[in-house]
Symmetry: C3
Amino acid sequence: MDLDAIAAISRLKYRHVRALDTKQWDLFADTLTPTAEATYGEYLQFESRDAFVQFMQETLGPHVLTEHRCGHPEIDVKGRTATGVWMLSDLVLIPEHDKLLRGSSVYTDEYQLCEDGAWRISSTTYKRTFELSYSLKDLPSFKLTAPGWMPPPADADEG
Amino acid sequence: MDLDAIAAISRLKYRHVRALDTKQWDLFADTLTPTAEATYGEYLQFESRDAFVQFMQETLGPHVLTEHRCGHPEIDVKGRTATGVWMLSDLVLIPEHDKLLRGSSVYTDEYQLCEDGAWRISSTTYKRTFELSYSLKDLPSFKLTAPGWMPPPADADEG
Amino acid sequence: MDLDAIAAISRLKYRHVRALDTKQWDLFADTLTPTAEATYGEYLQFESRDAFVQFMQETLGPHVLTEHRCGHPEIDVKGRTATGVWMLSDLVLIPEHDKLLRGSSVYTDEYQLCEDGAWRISSTTYKRTFELSYSLKDLPSFKLTAPGWMPPPADADEG
């Protein structure tokens, strides 16, 4: 196995998901190729990086708290391209709408080694194994004890 | 450290758990040696691969939605055998029985490098750090927003 | 990348967290340098290993069940020191107080390669992306179906 490439691709994926949960959209965009496609389940599909990033930025504003955790990487490298299968667990909280969503998915990604020497995601697709939701009104004592992430200044962490 | 063997064993574990959550039982069986033993807590013990796989297949049918996530690998390789400690988080949903189970465990595994060059699990044991359950009736607004995994055709993904 | 050092540091982190959730405080202490500092959010700060370990041991007794899961490692090694960013998901249950806490954090760690050849944590800090709590009284059917971890004898697992 090409352990160096696998380590670099894993780290790319971790940076991608950290940027998502900490709402660092420039950092998030830089983990994708310009022509990257994304398919989340049956209803959410994006044909380019810019469309994907714009949707995430508009949808996942400061009022939406997210936790995406990826694990179980099964990565195959072939020259300057690679594929990866991951398992995802995600939790989405929208306290002002009393909404909690919890999902579980199988991710199938494609990666490219770009001209600048960095691996980027060229395609990302997930298929749900399940997804559930309920209203936080069902938990009358529910409270946020830490108020949610405040994104750092734009130039603070783009590494 | 023998990073290649550790990577191969990690990948074996990930394939094992992905097969479990996506109900691909032939793929699941192929991650085990024929004489593999499995012990899950105090009450569930299996003396062979076939008994273990049969139980899982019968118990975890399409009406049972599962999410098993393994992390924190501590793997030691000694020639053609190895041991591994993992932490498990699992979620089991049986919507038709309004049942939710959530557990947390320490896994202790043994692995063998087989004649065909593949590592397989020869023994897997977990000890709960806790396990909890509650009825989904306690969450009146609970709903499945994605209906649960449909296994692919038998020959679609056995890789 | 220095894959051997990254693997050793990852394994250190996994042993640290396993010791925490299985309440093996000598094993936990041995993952830290004597001068290690720890900062958990805004309110919990420790200036030394001994103060940190003592607090954990006193606060997380057998009546407190915890699950800490770290993933998404982004580790940079520079000679005998290293830094690491991780994502944490944690669940804390205190059944006798009907309390459930669930948090999500970004960890920033520093590591040192010590004289005995082992990497240890010299600084660990997390910032919450969110933290929530609710009372288990909101789930009337809640029950523990495995009663919680019993720490092994002091000399059983310190490896």
